[in-house]
């Protein structure tokens, strides 16, 4: 904390270099991205080598035919030196070659391009729906309960939101399946077929995160509403909606955006469970089955895809934050 503050103070002293701050921000942010990418790629590579004992024997069983084991070792490149393997791997990666799935014998890149869009659609829709519920709800609850008004509403809302956000997606999914697919049979139980099949998985992932995010939006909004510049806006006798939406909301957005980024990357992970429950044709079921069958090229590619997605989301969030919040650019430079 202390070091962060001294750098802030130092940065504001060097404010004359304002034009440079964007450059420095870009360089710094790109540096972090490259470093994280390299770590991710190397981790994905190292995974198979960290398996205690022989990974191929572990996958094929201890009584497997030695010829088959040797062939598989050659296929995975494990018969070569570690450095050679690393370089080959990096080269193939640059050409978009992710190898062949040991389970399905299909090119890994083809499996990914078949299944990733379904996962992205699910995560994307959930993200939008979550924010559409959470932000207005949080802002509205902040306005309704500011200055300690409506204690009852506040208590009901916070405890309800707390319980809802403490229930993980996959449990909500089970309950939703039971209610809407088994008991009342209103919605399809699994698979992806048209709009109605989105409702249950999206609802399962939205409810908890919308509750959690709206709580934080409310707290942020309340703290902004208590600040002096809101009093200045009130002294200007602006209409309430202008005070709330033009003056307070943008200042509450920094935290909301940061959280949304966290939400989006956690949604990527949440899809794994929810897809498995709803037999959604995304990457989630593939991931589980390839781990269980020790399909190393597939697992490695999935690690790269999920990790890459998260890095990309973080990058976008940081850039958006730097643009939206003028102070954060300085904070980071």
């Amino acid at each position: 904390m202390a070091t962060v503050e001294t750098t802030i103070a130092g940065a504001s002293r060097r404010q004359s270099l304002l034009a440079n701050e964007w450059v420095r921000f870009a360089v710094r942010r790109l540096g972090i991205l490259v470093l994280s990418m390299w770590l991710l790629v190397t981790f994905a590579f190292g995974m198979i080598h960290l398996i205690p004992g022989d990974p191929v024997r572990a996958a094929l069983g201890f009584n497997a035919d030695p010829a088959l084991v040797a062939a598989r070792r050659a296929e995975l490149g494990l018969d070569q030196g570690l450095l050679t393997q690393y370089w080959t791997y990096l080269g193939q990666l640059l050409h978009g070659d992710l190898g062949t799935s040991l389970q399905s014998r299909l090119p890994v890149s083809q499996v990914i391009s078949d299944r990733l869009p379904n996962t992205l659609a699910l995560a994307g829709i959930t993200f939008v729906v979550t924010l559409l519920i959470a932000v207005p709800l949080g802002v509205g609850m902040a306005i309704l309960t500011q200055h300690g008004r409506r204690r009852g509403t506040e208590l009901g809302y916070t405890s309800g939101a707390m319980v809802l956000s403490a229930i993980p997606e996959f449990l909500l999914a089970v309950v939703l399946v039971y209610l809407f697919a088994v008991k009342f049979q209103l919605l399809p139980i699994a698979g992806r077929a048209g709009f109605s099949s989105f409702i249950l998985p999206v609802a399962a992932m939205t409810l908890g995160s919308a509750a959690a995010i709206s709580r934080i939006v409310r707290v942020e909004m309340l703290s902004v509403l208590g600040q002096d510049f809101v009093r200045t806006a009130a002294a200007k006798r602006l209409r309430p909606h202008r005070i709330y939406l033009r003056h307070a909301l943008p200042n509450a957005m920094t935290a909301t955006l940061t959280l949304s980024g966290l939400l989006l990357s956690s949604l990527v992970a949440a899809t794994v469970l929810v897809e498995n429950i709803f037999a959604w044709p995304g990457l989630g079921p593939t991931m589980v089955s390839s781990i269980l069958s020790k399909d190393f090229p597939m697992v490695r590619a999935i690690v790269l895809v999920y990790g890459g997605l998260v890095l990309l989301i973080n990058l976008v969030v940081d850039i958006v934050l730097a643009i939206v919040d003028p102070r954060s650019a300085i904070r980071k430079a």
């Binding site: 994280s36 398996i51 009130a234 602006l238 990527v268 794994v272």
Partner: protein
């Protein structure tokens, strides 16, 4: 898996925030905060639930172990029937018994993962702080990157290395949690390391390790415990998720996640097979989460409560009406027709648990057009609250009442309609104490001025912006066109305060209320802002109501001075007559202002004692305990009455006013022409 990471992240952020302001307190004070958990009914319930869950984990398999393995071949895959409240699985085993038995594995594994996460995280976090500066930057960069990755990837990673099973799952969740705890530890311990007592320990040559164990760890323990509880809850859920996917506990062992996966397959025949374990997961997860949340909230609330209490004390107030309080007579100067502001018997009250407190107790005030009136008083005298309630900017729980409250023929006591709003917005302007926080940090300064004209005068944004630039020029901002497009953080404090004044000039101001406008500024800038206020007043013809604790500031700008003490006006007199002040409190204030003649070798005069405690205001004159002239008569509240002076007529609320310009006590009276805070006098 995913849940573990993001839950920890979110709680880390909130708790770090909660804990930060309070972490300056000594260790002993912070312990009791966790103990406060036991003082609330919800806290007791949460802890009881935690204990029940742990007891279940310990004794569940002992009690229900055999029952869970007994096959009832008459009832395979059955729904709830007598003897099997949750039904049976496909081998005829009782699901309720299995849920109870599975508690040990579910909770045990989750707690082990949490423990791994905490130990690894705390180690990395403290290493990051205790290492050299370079190394600690590298550490924080890596912690930052690690925190950004979802726990899912780590779960994948460990599942591949150790194969699908409990070992891999425990390590994965522990590893997923470690970065969050590392960052929390780093943030918290950095703030502890920066604190005085640690610096003192370092100066005394205490070793790093001892600093860590003796000072740092005890001070960060509480937020860590709170977060650990939250993490244990999310870990329980995440582990269930992994087992549910088949990446955690493997058959024939079973935990709740495993049972959930089996139950889901049988959801059409026996929904309880899925809902039973789901219920167990949610309830035990909630128990931990609730404890953690409560702990975090208590940590936060304690500090805000303390702050509120302080502020309440500063506002000054009483809980009972002193005799004669309601009977303040109208001021001697009858409200003339050119009055721009008329206030009669203004009262501000707060209802608290201990009764109603009244920080402002019947203020009468008239400001004529073009006049400059100053309100002076110590902090807690109610002067700022008076200004805010006149402007209608107070909010609950403050309650404002007045017999009369007129601004420019607008009755401010009744609801203000659309036209009234426009009238107020253009003719009543305010300048606040802290220019650094009075402007919206995400909006261009020019637009913040222009907004007044677009809102109330139907100007287009283009024209409004032009007017804003010209007003900024009026308040002597250099290069106003360029400056108007900047954001407040690019402006200095003095410039921002001018922008606030310029904002008040966007309409046709009739009254400018400035609440401690120079307190937050440098001494040299103070004088510039005061001069600007004065010239603005003269050029626009607006009246000025200047609130300050500094008598020299008020006397240099204002025509008339109103002195407040404990929520009341104690004296009102023309500035020129200040040296003939009648009230002992005004006299004391005057003596406390250093002048050019003040002997340097003597300590500066102060007013002995403190303003009265708002909770127990003395019967009678609130200044009596500090007043050298007080006697038994002062036990009766004095009224604000006209007092004849040598020159102009003034008002004083005192039974023993100073009637002679030369004080009886022999203290020389400050020559007001020489009064001025050090620095201000010189810069003129």
């Amino acid at each position: 898996m995913s849940a573990a990471n993001d839950h920890v992240d979110a709680s880390v952020d909130s708790t770090a925030k909660d804990a930060a302001p309070s972490s300056g307190k000594p260790v002993s004070g912070r312990r009791s905060r966790l103990a406060m958990l036991f003082a609330t009914p919800v806290g007791i319930a949460a802890i009881t639930a935690d204990l029940l869950v742990i007891l279940l984990a310990v004794f569940g398999p002992i009690i229900w172990g055999t029952r869970a393995e007994t096959n009832d071949f008459d009832n395979l895959d059955s729904g709830p029937i007598s003897g099997h409240p949750f039904g049976t699985d496909k081998l005829g085993r009782d699901i309720l018994a299995r849920v109870l038995v599975a508690a040990r594995l579910s909770i045990g594994l989750a707690l082990s993962a949490t423990l791994i996460g905490i130990v690894v995280g705390v180690l990395i976090g403290t290493m990051a702080n205790l290492a050299g500066r370079r190394l600690s930057r590298v550490f924080s960069t890596f912690i930052g990157i690690a925190v950004a990755f979802p726990g899912l990837l780590l779960a994948l990673f460990f599942a591949v290395i150790f194969g699908a099973g409990p070992t891999g799952a425990v390590l994965a969740l522990g590893a997923a949690m470690a970065p969050g705890f590392a960052r929390l530890t780093q943030t918290l311990s950095a703030s502890v390391v920066g604190r005085d007592f640690v610096s003192a320990a370092k100066v005394l040559g205490v070793s790093r390790l001892r600093v860590l164990t003796r000072h740092v760890v005890p001070n960060i323990a509480e937020p860590l415990i709170v977060n650990a509880t939250l993490a244990a809850g999310s870990c329980l859920l995440a582990f269930a998720g992994l087992s549910f996917l088949g990446l955690g506990v493997q058959l024939p062992s079973y935990d709740w996640g495993r049972m959930l996966a089996e139950g889901l397959n049988a959801i059409y025949t026996n929904p309880m097979a899925a809902l039973g374990p789901a219920l167990a997961i949610v309830l035990s997860g909630l128990a931990f989460n609730l404890t953690g949340e409560l702990g975090a909230q208590l940590a936060g609330r304690r500090t805000t409560r303390g702050r509120r209490r302080q502020r309440g004390a500063a506002d000054g107030s009483d809980d009972q009406r002193a005799p004669g309080a309601g009977g303040l007579p109208a001021a001697a100067d009858t409200p003339s027709s050119d009055a721009v502001l008329v206030v009669r018997n203004l009262r501000v009250s707060v209802r608290t648990d201990g009764g109603t407190i009244e920080p402002v107790r019947g203020v009468d005030l008239t400001v004529r057009a073009g006049e400059a009136v100053g309100i002076v008083g110590e902090s807690g005298s109610g002067k700022s609250l008076t200004a805010l309630s006149i402007a209608g900017l107070t909010h609950e729980p403050l309650e404002v009442t007045a017999d009369e409250l007129w601004f420019d023929e607008l009755d401010l006591r009744s609801a203000i309609g659309r036209r009234g709003r426009a009238q107020l917005g253009t003719s009543l302007s305010l300048v606040f104490q802290d220019p650094m926080s009075s402007l919206n940090p995400t909006m261009r300064v020019g637009d913040q001025l222009a907004e007044v004209a677009t809102e109330h005068q139907h100007l287009s944004w283009k024209n409004a912006r032009e007017r804003a630039v010209s007003r900024l020029r009026d308040v002597r901002i250099a290069a106003p066109g360029r400056r108007a497009r900047q954001l407040p953080h690019e402006w200095s404090g003095g410039m921002r305060q001018r922008a606030m004044i310029g904002m008040g000039l966007m309409g046709e101001p009739k009254l400018l209320i400035a609440d401690e406008p120079t307190t937050a500024l440098d001494v040299t800038v103070q004088q510039q802002v005061l001069e600007l206020l004065e010239s603005t007043k003269q050029q626009s013809g607006a009246a000025l109501l200047l609130i300050s604790h500094d008598l020299s500031v008020v006397s240099s700008v204002c025509d008339r001075v109103v002195v407040m003490y404990a929520g009341r006006i104690v004296e009102e007199l023309p500035t020129a007559d200040l040296e003939h002040a009648r009230h002992p409190y005004t006299k004391a204030l005057l003596r406390a202002v250093p002048s050019m003649d003040t002997p340097r070798e003597e300590p500066l005069a102060t007013i002995a004692g403190r303003p009265p405690d708002p909770a127990s205001l003395p019967v009678g004159c609130p200044f009596a305990p500090r007043c050298p002239r007080a006697d038994d008569r002062c036990r009766v509240e004095p009224a604000l009455l006209p007092v004849a002076g040598r020159r102009a007529l003034g008002l004083a609320a005192c039974h023993h006013p100073h009637l002679d310009p030369v004080s009886e006590s022999g203290v020389s009276i400050v020559d007001i022409s020489k009064v001025g805070a050090p620095g201000i006098g010189e810069t003129r």
